[in-house]
């Protein structure tokens, strides 16, 4: 700091680092966000291997099964992509509010409500043309999710209620309400063993994407991730949100509408999660039932954290976890492991990831501002 005051005195233009150094610096800043989650995943896998060894199972066999069950064949890949589709939306429900500094973990409830809302509007419109019905279903889902998670944002913005707790509790409430309606007033009398709503009708079902054999939720999810990235990184709205997430007082002093940003971004996240429910109903199940709450909302949290809340990183991470979940049946059968095994693995990965959060900024190689001579760094 002695040096810097001297510099300001004579109004020297700071040295611009050379192009090579700038490129290195750019690379280093980007690499950190990949290297640390990757390191955390490796540590998590190592811990999980110990867990398997303790059970007398071979970690190598597990890796082999994950590869075969999730990625090795066209069929396996299709299965993985099918599971990745809802994860994309569920992860956005975490990633969008996260840029405002909110940890929202209630995507599961929004998925359930979204699916229910979509299923409920279809039967009364059965006479209308299919595109109209599908549009109405999507809109109903969007609204349901936006209101539900937007309410979490409003509780935070206007009453200071912690968004993590509120979203989790709201999620349980949503699932309970949805199950009550599915098993009660909205139940299709002909659904005997598996209580469901009335079917949305085959004409209103979405087909697979051409050439992939996976439903349109995948394409829509990837598109949503790209749009979310544009919103966060390339629009003034996203920049405002990042300021509020970086320091809410600074955002208030700049006169930014912090409360509206919080409500808006949580509502958007909720709408995304609800779309996952919409696609499950309109492309997979054909009605709303209890299996809508299949855990995608919770796996989505892991996806978003692994992706460092970067929307563009969500699709590859979602595919990886989709593959992992796709292989879980195979793992159960071949290795005689309980079906919670994959949950144990996901939990371990998440734990390592959260521990890894503390590592940011601690590695000199990733922190270009520490590269200059030590003297400047300390100044």
């Amino acid at each position: 700091m002695v040096a810097d005051t001297a510099a300001s005195r004579i109004a020297v233009v700071p040295r611009r680092p050379s192009a090579a150094v700038q490129v290195m610096a750019w690379l280093a800043r980007r690499t950190e966000a990949v290297a640390i989650p990757l390191g955390a995943v490796l540590v998590g896998l190592a811990l999980f291997s110990l867990f398997l060894l303790a059970l007398g199972k071979s970690p190598a066999a597990l890796v082999d099964l994950v590869w075969r069950g999730g990625f090795s064949s066209a069929f396996a890949l299709q299965n993985s992509l099918q599971r990745a589709a809802p994860l994309l939306f569920a992860a956005l429900c975490v990633a969008l509010p996260a840029r405002l500094g909110l940890v929202v973990i209630g995507g599961e409830g929004a998925i359930m409500l979204g699916g229910l809302a979509a299923a409920v509007v279809a039967p009364p419109l059965s006479a209308a043309p299919a595109p109209l019905v599908v549009g109405a279903m999507a809109l109903a889902a969007l609204l349901a999710g936006a209101v539900w998670i937007g309410a979490v944002g409003a509780l935070k913005a206007y009453r200071g209620v912690d968004a993590t707790i509120a979203s989790l509790l709201m999620s349980y409430i949503a699932i309970a309400i949805a199950n009550h309606l599915i098993e009660g007033p909205l139940r299709d009398p002909t659904s005997l063993n598996k209580p469901s709503t009335l079917p949305v009708g085959d004409a209103n079902m979405l087909g697979p994407m051409p050439g992939l054999g996976v439903h349109w939720g995948l394409g829509a999810g990837v598109l949503a991730c790209c749009l979310a990235w544009l919103l966060m990184e390339r629009t003034t709205l996203g920049f405002s949100a990042r300021i509020a997430g970086g320091n809410v007082r600074a955002a208030q002093i700049q006169g930014l509408p912090v409360r509206r940003l919080i409500v808006g971004f949580t509502a958007l996240g909720g709408a995304c999660a609800a779309l996952a429910g919409f696609f499950e109903v309109a492309a997979v199940q054909g009605n709303a039932n209890a299996t809508l709450a299949a855990g995608y909302g919770f796996t989505g949290i892991l996806v978003a954290f692994l992706a460092r809340h970067n929307p563009l990183a969500i699709p590859p991470v979602a595919l990886a976890l989709g593959g992992l979940e796709a292989s879980s049946g195979l793992i159960q059968r071949r290795m005689q492991l309980p079906d919670a095994t994959i949950l144990v693995l996901e939990g371990l990965l998440f734990l390592c990831l959260l521990v890894g959060e503390t590592a940011y900024g601690r590695f000199k190689i990733f922190s270009p501002h520490l590269w200059a001579s030590k003297k400047e760094a300390a100044a």
């Binding site: 700091m1 002695v2 040096a3 810097d4 005051t5 001297a6 510099a7 300001s8 005195r9 109004a11 020297v12 233009v13 700071p14 611009r16 680092p17 700038q22 610096a25 750019w26 800043r29 990184e233 390339r234 629009t235 003034t236 709205l237 996203g238 920049f239 405002s240 990042r242 300021i243 997430g245 970086g246 320091n247 007082r249 600074a250 208030q252 002093i253 700049q254 006169g255 930014l256 509408p257 900024g361 270009p368 501002h369 590269w371 200059a372 001579s373 030590k374 003297k375 400047e376 760094a377 300390a378 100044a379």
Partner: protein
């Protein structure tokens, strides 16, 4: 309890190749009051951190009462009777003063007998001239009260050598005088030795008996207070460099053109404990109005009100004749800028880059003045590079997180952001808190330059010297009200101090 003598011998601390502290040897006699002077980054903090065991020195040793001691950590320092009061508070906000004191003790029992502890504390406090309510939670205390509690805590922990890191930066002159006077009295009585880090010469001259100056990690000079002139002390601190003096005032305030007008405004802070009631406050074109006052007398609430963080419960805040609530559109249209205290905490997103932080005000305004949807990243970067150069912000790169900058450079970046376009009303709060000598004169010059250009400036500051140096008109705030007004030319420190202390 008797005072300790403390001596550092060849104290050196290297971070890699950089010597933050280079062979510094200082001796402070038992019962001494020693001032440690130097710019930010001169090594003062490093030296005291080595003494307190936060850093392991690369070389050198510490002598306490002429015996070499090893201080592996702060606990060991406390056991040897060394205590430190930090610039940043180390109290538990949710606990009361009494609880903070008792839990800080090393020998606190598993089960605390509060009746006994309270009696012991009352007896202890009877010997302290500080007026402190130990039953209030620390979060409800003002900065000045917290600072007093920090000092009381060290004395309660039986520190016989006390290090103070800029202890008066949050105190009023009267409070500072009281606190330092008390400490000086304790040193005179031989109960305590004090080492005080300070930026203020008058404090050093009034209370310290000896001083040392650090410059770039080395001992640049020292001696008995009084034997060296202020100019020589400044020369020791600054070395060869010339220091720019504050720009001269040019032109007079325009009495007919009021920019900021606050009438009959009432407001309450979120805790509901502090109330603001301002009958009439005007700031005119080309005028700096200084608001002086003891911290915690409504200045924060006034700033929060103007910064849009709390709402008025009554009355009228107007800028350029129209109601003003601090929204982005209003502050842009009326050209109002707000620079809060502690800019890194209040005006920046610490993990975002310097370039992004500089862009906070202009990012959503297109060339035609309307709000745009797409972010012009290239434009923001170019503008940031330009401003970094023009305002002399020292940073490794425009892409580095702003938290990696020194305090003075964060404030320069914030000024670069807020003062580039024409400004009609500038509201600044404690703009120079914790900054070094050179940065202070730099930043004050910027404020005066803005005023000379016709800006109306509301300066809310706890540093009375700053108010006296910069203001055209001075108002004193006490218990949420404006209780005294004077033109700066006729200002009398004694009268201002009396009003600050609540004697109206």
């Amino acid at each position: 309890m008797s005072a300790l003598s403390v001596e550092t011998v060849g104290m050196t601390k290297r971070f890699g190749a950089f010597a933050a502290l280079d062979e510094v040897s200082i001796r402070i006699e038992a019962g001494g009051f020693h001032a440690l002077l130097g710019e930010n980054g001169a090594g003062k903090s490093t030296l005291v951190k080595c003494m307190m065991g936060f850093y392991a020195p690369t070389a050198g040793s510490l002598l306490v009462d002429n015996r070499e001691v090893a201080i592996p950590g702060p606990k060991a320092a406390q056991a040897h009777g060394l205590g430190m009061v930090y610039q940043h508070f180390t109290l538990v906000p949710s606990l009361t003063g009494a609880e903070n004191l008792v839990i800080a003790r090393a020998d606190v029992p598993r089960l605390i007998d509060w009746t006994r502890e309270r009696a012991a504390l009352a007896a202890f406090m009877a010997g302290m001239p500080f007026r402190l309510d130990l039953d209030r939670p620390v979060s409800a205390l003002s900065a000045g009260e917290k600072q007093k509690l920090e000092i009381v805590k060290q004395l309660y922990l039986e520190a016989r050598f006390l290090i103070l890191d800029e202890p008066t930066s949050v105190l009023t002159p009267a409070e500072a005088e009281e606190v330092l006077g008390l400490l000086r009295g304790m040193t005179d009585a031989g109960a305590l030795t004090v080492l005080m880090i300070s930026h203020k010469f008058h404090e050093v001259e009034t209370f310290a008996r000896s001083f040392s100056v650090l410059r770039r990690g080395r001992l640049a000079g020292g001696g008995a207070v009084g034997a060296v002139s202020r100019d020589d002390m400044a020369a020791m601190m600054m070395g060869e460099r010339r220091v720019r003096t504050v720009a001269a005032r040019a032109g007079a305030p325009d009495p007919d053109r009021t920019v900021l007008q606050i009438e009959g405004v009432t407001a309450t802070d979120p805790s509901g404990l502090r109330h603001l009631a301002i009958d009439d406050l005007r700031v005119r074109v080309r005028e700096i109005v200084g608001i002086a006052g003891v911290s915690g007398n409504g200045q924060k609430e006034l700033a929060d009100l103007l910064g849009g963080q709390i709402r008025a419960t009554g009355g009228r805040v107007a800028v350029a004749g129209l109601p003003y609530t601090g929204s982005r559109a209003e502050s842009r249209d009326r050209r109002v800028r707000f620079i809060p205290e502690e800019p890194l905490r209040n005006a920046c997103a610490p993990q975002m880059s310097v370039a992004e932080n500089i862009g906070f005000r202009a990012f959503d305004r297109r060339a035609d003045g309307r709000t745009g949807l797409w972010l012009d990243k290239g434009g923001l970067r170019r503008r940031a590079h330009d401003l970094i150069a023009r305002f002399g912000v020292k940073t490794a790169s425009a892409e580095a997180p702003i938290a990696t900058l020194s305090g003075g450079n964060v404030q320069r970046a914030v000024l670069a952001r807020e003062l580039t376009d024409p400004v009609d009303l500038l509201i600044v709060v404690n703009p120079c808190f914790g900054l070094d000598f050179a940065a202070v004169s730099d930043i004050r010059s910027q404020i005066v330059a803005a005023r000379n250009g016709g800006t109306a400036v509301l300066l809310i500051s706890e540093d009375l010297d700053e108010i006296l140096e910069l203001s055209d008109r001075i108002l004193v705030m006490s218990e949420g009200r404006l209780v005294y007004e004077t033109a700066a030319a006729e200002a009398e420190v004694g009268t201002i101090g009396r009003h600050m202390a609540g004697h109206h």
